[in-house]
Symmetry: C2
Subunit: 399 residues, 2 copies
């Protein structure tokens, strides 16, 4: 994947000295996520929030201390920012990121990186022509629980992976949530439901820890619990290149919901649930016992250890800091955005599987998926009954 390099600002040489010690950041999109980022920005070292951008003047008016833009293209070309944090609805991640790259501006994008694989590839291609930093807001990668699980899996301590199972159903959302924003939970506005909005984190972590599957079969509930046209429940079967199998289950219609990740390998199993990581180690290779034991009903002795970690990581602030450090010091990104194509591809493959009622091979045919998505947009008969302006409203932000 992308190896972060010391950036060379290409379109402007202004403020070069300042830039070496400080990143001037603009935030585009002042909805739920964007305003949250703005509120925390003072915690990030060597980062100066200089500009904000939104199409909604009322949102802009809350930030008189920053330069204000109603159009991201103007902010990107203003010379006031070295980097942009993109927090607009998903489809616009692509256009804004490409515009930034073409104008020498570093990009940190909210998840999902893009709505579909072809768009993600367009961003990656535009980025590849630059030396700019391109990060993705996969803040859950800062959580030491997932870091430890990844370490155990990637180090080989768990042995070769046999089976994965992630039940991640603690994404409960109300009817009010879906009513907030005409773009939300539509093919045209968001390009999907729980897979595109809530699960990018989980899909990213899943592939970050276990690698990408080679086949996916999914069943989706379309507006099963909510009055929406997109998926609010997914059950997916996964097959990995080594033959391992997996299951991924998610929904926004369940409470309190479950977050349980189980990974089984030849040397035991790892279960993460209720904030606790339990590692059940076998004292020898399971395959070896299976193949060589003279007993029919052999058991494999195990020991259980809890892998204890402290807290849940620096989350968004740590991600922005990491992005700033990558720009100023060439520090490796915790979540290079080109890796974000994987979670997009997984979400796309699951939807494509459910639409076509068949198993989808990965790599996914990006053009075929884009065409299918556009067909869903074109033939959509869904109309939102009412759009409620809630405090977490993103409806007027880059709709």
């Amino acid at each position: 994947m992308t190896i972060p390099r010391i950036p060379v600002r290409q379109s402007s040489t202004a403020n070069r000295d300042k830039m070496n010690s400080m990143v001037r950041l603009g935030v585009v999109g002042l909805g739920n996520m964007g305003s949250g980022h703005v509120a925390q920005m003072s915690k990030v070292q060597r980062c100066e929030l200089t500009a904000v951008c939104d199409i909604d003047e009322a949102k802009l008016a809350k930030y008189p201390q920053f330069k204000q833009f109603g159009d991201s293209r103007e902010m990107i070309r203003s010379g006031d920012i070295d980097a942009v944090l993109i927090a607009v609805p998903h489809y616009d991640h692509t256009t804004i990121a490409i515009d930034a790259f073409e104008n020498g501006v570093h990009v940190l994008t909210e998840k999902p990186v893009a709505v579909h694989k072809a768009d993600a590839q367009r961003m990656i291609d535009a980025h590849a022509k630059t030396n700019l930093v391109f990060g993705a807001m996969f803040n859950q990668r800062t959580d030491p629980h997932y870091q430890e699980i990844r370490r155990v899996v990637r180090s080989g301590e768990l042995g070769e992976i046999q089976r994965t199972n992630w039940i991640i159903t603690n994404w409960f959302r109300t009817a009010t949530y879906y009513a907030s924003g005409g773009w939300r939970a539509t093919w045209r506005g968001e390009g999907g439901g729980v897979l595109l909005n809530q699960c990018p984190h989980n899909l990213d972590l899943f592939q970050w820890i276990c690698g990408m599957p080679s086949r996916v079969r999914a069943y989706c509930g379309w507006g099963k619990y909510h009055d929406i046209e997109v998926e609010d429940e997914v059950t997916a079967y996964l097959e990995y290149p080594n033959g391992a199998t997996g299951v991924f289950v998610t929904t926004t219609g369940e409470a309190p919901g479950t977050n349980r990740l189980e990974i089984v390998g030849d040397r035991g199993k790892l279960v993460y649930e209720d904030g606790k990581i339990l590692f059940t180690r076998t004292n020898q290779s399971v395959r070896e016992v299976l193949e060589t034991s003279p007993e029919s009903f052999a058991s494999v002795p195990t020991s259980v250890t809890e892998i204890e970690v402290d807290g849940y990581g620096g989350q968004h602030v740590e991600m922005v800091q990491n992005f700033v450090d990558a720009i100023l010091d060439g520090k490796p990104l915790l979540a290079p955005a080109p890796e974000g194509i994987h979670s997009v591809e997984l979400a796309n493959a699951m939807l494509f599987s459910a639409w076509t009622d068949r198993t989808i091979d990965i790599p996914l045919d990006a053009a075929a998926y884009e065409a299918a998505l556009k067909e869903h947009i074109a033939t959509s008969r869904y109309e939102k009954k009412a759009v409620v302006a809630a405090e977490v409203d993103l409806s007027k932000s880059w709709a």
Copy 2:
């Protein structure tokens, strides 16, 4: 389903007085299960083990205290038994049970009731013409954990079911196990693998607790971990008549394995794992919160209780006792064998789905499945490399 009735012995009037106070039982099949049953039979009240039957004389020779038969038809017609416990390889359950019914002998059959749905239906039809007792050895129904889970689900305490998930992978079996018996883990000899041999219990409990799904989609690993032609790994997606979804995962290739049953309803979730039942109750209907909350990110307050039970039930002994009490007193059966058709149908539907690469509707087309199974038998090119005589050998018993 079948309501147990006071039996009327039809073919023989001998020993009627004795029969009113005592059941004379014959065991057919002295392999692993049958010999285990014989060893525990003295714990069953009002049951006299009078005869044993096996085609292997060496096995019979171990039981000089009982009448010995080399052919089940002779035992059934001998007048020495009122009831037969069938513990031979699966295909023969059907022929022996029907023979018993036609000769006025009560039947308690090991699981699975039959290899495929059509055979199970044949047994049910033969039984329907009699007033005999027909029980199935679903001994896990005696486990108070499953009884309590069923009670919570069936009582409505959990609310309408939304999602089920059973990971039951603690069925580890070695190569030695599969090498013990030429019939084992072949289409011809057993008609399946983990679904037909290990999982009948789980499939029975699953439907006993949650009801039958209306659609099934499964992926199977055929001899994935062992040198066998049948399935030793299964991942299945289920859909229930009310729209609830489910997952069932099993394998004999994993150690230590997992046994975790999660059932989610409108009033919370129930999780059974590591011998512990946790019931997380919501303080109101989740659907109601979803539909009426003014908040976008509402949480539903919950309380967690552990449902404590004592031990794991009377298992096989309790099942035989229940069978005897049903014969003598008309006591309801804990596991009427006609209900066993459900677990057979589930196993068949999963295999049929994997064979045909499609989603299978339930009720399953029994004739189509039988034809497909026969096709697998006819075209099998599998040959066992070596048959090892292990202590738990069933190979010579009704092969």
